[in-house]
Structures are given as C-alpha cells and as structure tokens.
C-alpha cells in the first residue's frame, strides 16, 4: 500500500510539474482541486437557478420547456443548460482526482481523518444531485435513469407500492412526480452544500475560491465548450417504448449500465462496501503522526502567532492559567495536531541563540524539539568542515519535497519547512556552521502542510512574524521548492548555490559557537553576582 501510494505520489508530481509550466505554480489546477470543486458548485447553482425560471413541471411540459430553452433560446438558456451539465460533470472529475490525490499524498489519516470521512457524503450528494437533475429533463435518457433508479430502490423492499410502477405506462405517470423531483433536485444540492461546508471545518483558512486567473480560464473553457458542443436532448420520454440505445453521461451515470446488468443486491452491497471502505480507510492502517505539539507556559506569552500559523486549527488561545501577567496562553488540541512543527517555527521564543539553561521554546514538538534541531544543525554544520568560504551549504529539507530522506552531509530533515524558525538561519550563518543555508521544501504549487511554503516566504520577506533578521545576508539563503521527482533540480540548485558561496568572501561577522559560549559564560556569572 505504501509503495503504491509513493508511486502514485511521484506520478502526480510529474504530471503537476507539466501543469506548473502550463498554468504557473499558483494557478496549477491540481493544487486547487478543492477550490475548483467549490467554484464549479457555484456555477452549477447559479445556472440551475436561471434554468428554473424557464422549467415547467409536468409530464409533457418538462421536456417541452427544456427543448424550448435548448433550441429557441439556445443563446442564453441553452448555453446555461450546457454549462449546468458540464460543470456538474467536471465536478465529478475534480472530486475523484481530489480524493485519489489526497490518498496518494497521505493526507487522509491521523489527525486529517475528519476531512476524509466528511468527504464521503459529498460524493453521494454529488451523484444524487446529478441523477435527480437528469430525471427532470424527461427525455429518453431521463426515462432510462428513472426506470433503473426506481427498480434499484424497489429492491430495498421498504416501499409499499413499487416505485417502478409509475413508469409502467404513460397513464401511470402524474405531473406531481415532477414537482417531487424538483423538490429533490433543490434539497439534495443544499445538503451537498452543507456537507461541503462540514468537510472544510477542521482546516484553517480553507480555500474555497480558486485564483481569479484559474477561475477565468475554467469558466472560459466551459462557455466555449457549451457553445461548441451543446448538451444534447435525446427525444421525449415515451413510456410505451423502451430506450434501446442511449448517450450516457459516463461521469454521472456511469454506474447505470452496471446497475442494469447485475442483481440489485450486488449493487447495494457494493455501494455499502465502497462507503464503509472509504470511511474506514483512515484506520486501515492508521498513520502514526509524531506526538502533538506541547506548550511550555514559562516561554509562552500568548502572542497568538502559533494560532495564526497552524494550518489545522489545532492551536487556540485560552485564558491564562498559570498566573503569569499575560491574558492568554496557547492550547494544543492533540486530536487535530499533525506534528508539522509550523507552530514551533512561529514561536518568538524559538531562538537557538539562547544558551542560558535548557533550550525550551513556547510551543515545541516532543519528537523533534528545538534543542534537538539545534543539535542536529550543529552536527550537520560540523560535518561540512570548519573552513569558511568554501561553499558549505547546510540544507534544511522538509519530509515531502525533493530533499526528503536524504542523508547527504549537511542535510537536516524537518517535518515542514516552516518548522524552521527564522532565527535558526541566522544562527547557522552567524555561528559559521555553513557559508549558506538552503530551505528545501515541497513544490511551490502546494505545501503538504498547506502553509509551509507561504509562511517561510513571508517570514524571509519580513511580512509575517517572526521575521528573518535584516542582518542575515540574503545572498546566503536559498529556498528551493521542489517536489519528490525533482531531486535533480534540487542538486543542481545546491551546486550552483555552493559555487556562488565559494566565490564570495567569507562571512565577516562569524562568532563561532565556542567563542559565543565563552563570552556568554562570564555574562551569566555577572548576572548571578548582580542577582
């Protein structure tokens, strides 16, 4: 399973690199599948409301009104109908790609189980919305869908009269049936909207709008296809005959030929297994995330930076409980924490320069605390040698990008690029542990932990706390955002960076660790005397 997932992840990465070139990383549709799903939903909703103005409910009126709007008024209502249909189909494509991608990127287990299982009802509501929509047209396809659906429902055996009796002959179908279908076609999409809203509840600042450029591209493509290839009508339904050959919407109705061909019990069992299997996936097997972040109140002043930066709403503020003169303290919800360490990188107390006592920060990762990260950085720096100006690069690599798992000298692994406090970059350069620092994170289009790339860039650009200090020479800092299949590019960029560093004069303001320790020691003594 893990191998299949890794292979699929690499496959996605390769495809997405191509789409990076076509759209640009920030407009890459593969990194915007969730927002695109929302965007398509709004298109379907808007076009549906417009179509409802022209739709008549009735055995003959339903088809008549759809035919009228598709032919006589094709230039507005017909195009709207095509948009309604194709946006619904694209929503299915986006939804399943999103599902497979989240599985491949292992973002469905551990603390992220909630988003996964709340996505399961979304799948069914999308299908039910589509199916009830097809009934309303009351053409030959609608007749086929209605009959097969009714036979499938009748197999459950909970309805008094078989629903399929309604479609036995023309005399048995009433106008009220269409009123019921209109109600269902409004109610189910509203339930879908509710399910989509619940789906995004456990993530911070959920993106529900794609970038405007991408939205414009998608809408333009939909309108163009709606004009070139209008959604077909397949002749009025006629219950005296059976639709023999049909143009099927394979995306929304692809299961109907299967439903028609196998016993209803198999279909219901398959649907139940699919649903239960999907819901159970986060625990088959569960992911063992690192231990949740811990708050150390002696070093926390309730500044809220960790709350603002956590991508999963796992940190919140609570009234101070230790009597310290601050209003709030940070509190971690372990059930939501994925141990990405972004909170640690955001904490102003995360300063590796501190030498008085044990290095503890306000919010820390038990499995890779700041003190251990500093030790790893020092060890990696020593592995690079101690001759300044030779192009030594210390790389802090996230666990999901091109640098993941590498044991090359000077390489330190972190769960997320934004786990690295900016002060650590300053520490590495000013203590002469390396001539330059490289942050190697996920591909720019999308961070595994949602905001790792964005927060790191913003901290380095000094637009988001904690800032990278101005004294850090920017020419000695490199960020490489590269996916798992871009190890070659990462290597090339590191080589080029090392050559640039080697060509520079050695950094002048180095205070080696030993010197800093020696200078700090008398100060501590002085403090002690003064105290």
């Amino acid at each position: 399973m893990a191998r299949a997932r890794a292979a699929l992840r690499r496959g996605f990465d390769r495809v997405e690199r191509g789409l990076d070139a076509a759209f640009g990383p920030d407009w890459n549709p593969m990194a915007q599948l969730g927002p695109l799903g929302w965007f398509l939903f709004w298109i379907v909703l808007g076009t549906g409301i417009y179509l409802f103005i022209f739709f008549d409910t009735g055995v003959t009126e339903a088809y008549g009104s759809v035919r009228w709007l598709s032919t006589d008024h094709w230039w507005h209502a017909g195009v709207t109908r095509s948009l309604h249909r194709y946006a619904s189909d694209l929503m299915v494509v986006v939804m399943f790609t999103h599902l497979v991608r989240e599985w491949a990127f292992d973002r469905y287990r551990g603390a992220r189980w909630f988003s996964w299982i709340t996505g399961v009802p979304v799948i069914w509501f999308v299908y039910l919305s589509g199916i009830t929509g097809y009934w309303l047209v009351w053409d030959r396809l609608a007749q086929y869908v209605a009959t097969i659906s009714a036979e499938l429902l009748d197999a459950v055996g909970i309805f008094g009269e078989p629903i399929a009796r309604n479609f036995m002959s023309p005399a048995q179908l009433s106008d009220r049936f269409f009123t019921l279908m209109v109600f269902l076609h409004i109610a189910i999409p509203l339930l879908l909207l509710l399910a989509m809203w619940i789906h995004i509840q456990r993530i911070t600042a959920a993106r529900t709008n794609p970038p405007r450029g991408l939205a414009a591209i998608m809408l333009g493509a939909l309108i163009a296809v709606a004009l070139v290839l209008p959604a077909p009508l397949q002749g009025p339904a006629d219950l005296a005959t059976v639709p023999q050959r049909l143009g099927i919407d394979w995306l929304l109705l692809g299961l109907y030929p299967v439903i028609e061909s196998v016993p209803a019990g198999v279909i219901w069992a398959g649907a139940a297994l699919f649903t239960i299997g999907l819901i159970g996936m986060p625990w088959l097997p569960p992911r063992r995330d690192g231990r949740a972040a811990e708050v150390f109140l002696d070093h926390c002043n309730g500044c809220e930076r960790c709350v603002a930066d956590c991508p999963y709403a796992a940190v919140r503020l609570a009234p101070r409980s230790d009597g310290a003169p601050f209003r709030f303290e940070a509190v971690v919800d372990p059930s939501r924490c994925v141990a990405c360490g972004i909170c640690m990188g955001a904490c102003p107390s995360s300063s590796p320069f501190r030498r008085s006592g044990e290095l503890i920060t306000g919010i820390d990762l038990p499995d890779q605390p700041l003190a251990a990260l500093r030790d790893e950085v020092i060890a990696a720096g020593r592995a690079l040698g101690d001759t300044p100006g030779t192009g030594r690069v210390l790389t802090l690599a996230c666990g999901w990008g091109a640098g993941a798992g590498s044991t090359a000298p000077g390489r330190v692994g972190v769960p997320c690029a934004a786990m690295v406090p900016p002060a650590m970059i300053d520490f590495i350069i000013s203590r002469g542990l390396a001539d330059g620092v490289c942050i190697a994170g996920c591909a720019e289009r999308e961070c595994h932990n949602r905001f790792g790339v964005a927060w790191t860039e913003a901290r380095f650009a000094r637009t988001r706390d904690p800032y990278l200090r101005e004294r850090v020479p920017r020419e000695r800092v490199l960020t490489v955002w590269a996916g798992p299949t871009e190890t070659g590019r990462l290597g090339e960029e590191l080589d080029a960076f090392a050559r640039r560093l080697a060509a520079m004069p050695p950094y002048e303001r180095i205070r080696p660790l030993e010197d800093a320790a020696n200078r700090a020691a008398p100060r501590r003594r002085q403090r002690s005397v003064a105290g």
């Binding site: 036979e151 008094g160 002959s169 493509a221 163009a224 296809v225 005959t241 023999q244 049909l246």
Partner: protein, 166 residues
C-alpha cells in the same frame, strides 16, 4: 508571450481540452440498453391474497365468553399470491409472492421485467390468490405482436378481477 499571458493561453488550451473531453464523455459512447430486436414486458400489480379462515368448533366457542363467540376466525397473515406467466408455451415466471407488511397483512406486490424478442407471442397468465382454491385462479391468454423497443405493461385490475395489458 511571457508570464501570465502564456499561462492564460496554454492553461486555457489545457482547460479547454479537459472540458471538451468531459463534455464528450457526457454523451458518448452510447449504451445499448436493450438489443435492437427486443421488446420488454413489465408485469406489476398489487393484489391481496386470501385470508386463512376457519370455523371454531363447538368446544372452542363454549370456552369463550358469550359476547366473544364469533364463529369464523381468520389469521392476520394473508396467503401468498401465485403468479405464472408463460410465453409461447415456455414458463417465463412462476412464483408465490408473499404478502406485504411486517405481519404479512398487506397485499402481495410484484414488479418484474422480461426482455423478449420482438414479434408475435402467445402470453398466458394465471393468478391464484387462494392456495386452497386452485379452481378460482384467474387465467388469461393474449396473442400479442411486440414491436422492437416496445414496452408492454401487464397490470391486474382488482375491481374487475382481470388482467389488463397496456
């Protein structure tokens, strides 16, 4: 072309191709639900089976209080209904349909569809609502000509006690 203009152009083309593929898949390839030379017979009705009744014996009646001495008693559960459908001398369907409801107090309901070759057929129907009275079964024979793609519905009218073909 540089930057965003290039992304709009190339990204637009990629999106157009994806949307076009989606639109094509929304109607093609077509599906043959029923072979061209076939027709469909749908049978559906709702008929109540007979009540299982008997007369109480004199001893049973004597054991009851005077105000409860009703001679005839019936079980709650109805009898199953037996339906047989034949076509051109062959049996298409022959089964006992149980009564509906948790306690079997409701009518027996049936819905079945049969795919048959188009053309002339002799359809024989037999419905028996009381297992104890096979001679009271309703029978019918119909000579029909089914066109390709025709949907023939067979219902049972409980008021007239006869089969109805649409």
């Amino acid at each position: 072309m540089k930057g965003r203009l290039r992304h709009l152009a190339i990204g637009g083309l990629v999106s157009l191709a994806l949307t076009l593929a989606t639109a094509v898949l929304s109607a093609w390839p077509s599906w043959q639900s029923l072979p061209e030379d076939s027709a469909l017979i749908r049978v559906s009705f709702s008929v109540s089976g007979a009540r299982n009744c008997r007369d109480r014996t004199a001893e049973e009646l004597a054991a009851l209080p005077r105000n409860m001495r009703r001679k005839r008693v019936c079980e709650r559960r109805r009898s199953p209904v037996r339906l047989s459908i034949g076509i051109d001398g062959a049996t298409l369907f022959d089964a006992a349909i149980p009564p509906g409801g948790l306690s079997g107090t409701g009518p027996s309901r049936v819905y079945r569809r049969f795919e048959v070759p188009a053309g002339d057929h002799r359809i024989t129907l037999r419905l028996q609502t009381d297992p104890a009275a096979p001679d009271k079964a309703v029978t019918a024979v119909h000579e029909v000509t089914l066109d390709p793609g025709q949907n023939m519905a067979i219902d049972f009218d409980t008021t007239t006690g006869s089969f109805v073909l649409y």
